[in-house]
């Protein structure tokens, strides 16, 4: 067994709220979440300290760091990713990036839904991030960002399942950081580049507005 198979992993996700967990594969030791959506940079490291203290471990014990790379609101997402990258760099351990919707899908698959489903999270601006999964929780489509009416009907789950009036069966399921930290075999490593799915809002500079008023003399 390699160290990463049995070792201690710190899981971080800031795609929705701020969530942190410490786990060995298949076994969660401590887990914390803050539900406010605008305190990522404030609360993330205090939560990391909390889970370490609760489990009686120190950061030097870590075998690696796993981070949710979204999709999610960008500013918060970057807080989680740069934190994971920096911790991994200082501790000289690997860092893995996982799709945050895949994390929710794993906890839904564990409830044996009996059919495929769609995981949705809030993309703001009246849109949703979503991806489709088979009944075992493997992603089969997405992630996408669209208006709610373009989300497949059927079983819809995830942090934003009740945000819009979506057709079909809907269940709110929050992201469980314990799964981020404890499922290295079941969550594919996608690297640590954020799943932005959108281009930055920016207007290319075109013509200059006139400042001349009144008629030509």
């Amino acid at each position: 067994m390699s160290e990463s198979d049995s070792g201690l992993w710190l899981g971080i996700d800031t795609s929705t709220s701020v969530s942190v967990a410490l786990a060995r594969p298949g076994h969660v030791l401590a887990s914390r979440s803050v539900t406010a959506t605008n305190v990522h940079v404030e609360q993330l490291m205090p939560l990391v300290k909390d889970v370490m203290a609760e489990s009686g471990h120190v950061l030097a014990d870590l075998a690696g760091v796993v981070v949710g790379i979204g999709p999610g609101p960008f500013t918060g997402l970057r807080v989680g990713i740069v934190t994971a990258q920096t911790l991994a760099y200082v501790l000289d351990v690997p860092v893995r990036g996982v799709c945050s919707l895949d994390v929710v899908a794993l906890s839904v698959a564990a409830t044996k839904p009996g059919r495929g489903f769609t995981v949705v999270s809030d993309a703001r601006r009246k849109e949703l991030y979503w991806a489709t999964y088979d009944l075992a929780g493997h992603r089969v489509g997405g992630p996408h960002v669209t208006y709610p009416e373009d989300v497949p009907t059927g079983l819809v789950v995830g942090p934003a399942a009740d945000l819009y009036d979506l057709a079909g069966e809907r269940h709110v399921v929050a992201l469980d950081p314990g799964i981020v930290a404890s499922s290295p075999e079941r969550l594919p490593d996608l690297g640590t580049e954020p799943l932005y799915l959108r281009r930055p809002d920016a207007q290319v500079a075109t013509s200059v507005k006139t400042v001349l008023t009144g008629r030509r003399p």
Binding site: E42, F74, R78, V82, D201, A202, Q203
Partner: protein, 347 residues
């Protein structure tokens, strides 16, 4: 006892900076700029800058340690810009700094970016004179500050009431069909022009304005005056003498900046003027400052251009000064403050 080794992180605008400083000795100053990515937008786009910070941060950290030949475990404290600046950009630096502070078990100092611009000159010219007046000019700020000591509150004597000086350069460059950023291109074009060709207005210098805005700046009216002048020429089918417009605009900006900086020194009875910020590299500003401070018997200090623009070393200097002065480190749950007042040096 040797001076503490401080790692400083800067991400308030479009520069990702990591610096390593020991006392007044600069060990590393890695800066990755996203300025080229903003060129086609004509100004800094916060989301573009923030994405670039995330990509540049870890490589900058690694290279800074390499340059300095130090191991992170040797660092005594972590300093980071907590404001003012762009929120989405600032959080990348603050999150990085917190992770470093916790993983290395070292104190964290969330510091004021503007104070960094003032403090950085210790790396080039040793301890700051006390007191000193500082003129900070860049795309994001235009301020006159009174500084008594890096670790005690800085007092703002004045600042821009509308655009920053660097912003005015960008807008005028665009008007003249010159590329972004405007500072260097206007400086270059101006070298061929006549600074007295066109009498552009000097904002907030009339006696009625001086009552309320003695040491404040305004560049919005100047920018509009340039636009009106250029547009009128074009409308009348005449050529626009780019070099003369650039030189006359630059003269108006530098005239006001230097006149108010010297006046601030005289009003405060202070014999030392420090300059910082990206516009401090402007050739006309430097020349005029040298001329006017000399005439007024004021000593002028200017860090090398690479330290004038945003960088991590300037943040490390402030963190080091706070550490030495026994200032309490920042708490682990600090956020960022886009409008952090200059009177707050450590959050």
């Amino acid at each position: 006892m040797t001076a503490p080794l401080v790692l400083g992180i800067e991400s308030s605008c479009d520069e990702t900076g990591v610096g390593l400083v020991r006392g007044t000795e600069l060990l590393a100053n890695q800066v990755a700029s996203s300025v080229e990515l903003h060129a086609r937008f004509g100004g800094v786009v916060p989301e573009v800058a923030s994405r670039a910070h995330l990509e540049a941060m870890r490589p900058a950290l690694e290279r800074a340690c390499e340059d300095a030949g130090v191991d992170l475990s040797e660092v005594d404290a972590i300093a980071v810009t907590a404001g003012p600046g762009l929120v989405s950009a600032l959080v990348v630096g603050v999150a990085t700094a917190k992770a470093l502070a916790v993983a290395l078990n070292k104190p964290l100092y969330g510091v004021n970016h503007l104070v960094g611009h003032v403090a950085v000159d210790v790396l080039d010219h040793g301890p700051l004179p006390s007191p000193a007046i500082a003129l900070l000019v860049s795309g994001g700020h235009t301020s006159l500050l009174r500084v008594d000591d890096i670790a005690t509150p800085v007092r703002e004597l004045g600042s821009t009431i509308d655009d920053a000086a660097g912003e005015a350069y960008d807008k005028v460059a665009r008007l003249l069909g010159l590329p972004y950023p405007g500072g260097p291109v206007i400086d270059k074009a101006a070298a061929e022009g006549n600074p007295r060709a066109i009498a552009f207005p000097r904002g907030l210098t009339a006696s009625k304005d001086l009552v309320k805005h003695r040491f404040d700046f305004s560049f919005s009216g100047l920018k509009t005056a340039v636009a009106r002048w250029v547009e009128t020429r074009r409308r009348d089918g005449e050529d626009v003498p780019i070099a003369d417009v650039a030189a006359s605009f630059q003269e108006a900006v530098c005239d006001v900046l230097t006149a108010k900086a010297v006046a601030a020194c005289q009003a405060e009875g202070v014999g030392d003027l420090l300059i910082g910020g990206g516009v401090a590299a402007n050739s006309r500003l430097r020349a005029l400052l040298e001329e006017r401070t000399k005439a007024a018997g004021i000593r002028l200090r200017r860090p090398r251009p690479g330290l004038c623009t945003d960088n991590g070393a300037m943040i490390a200097v402030v963190g080091g000064a706070a550490l030495v002065a026994g200032v309490r480190p920042s708490s682990l749950d600090i956020g960022v403050d886009s409008g952090l007042p200059v009177s707050r040096i450590v959050v």
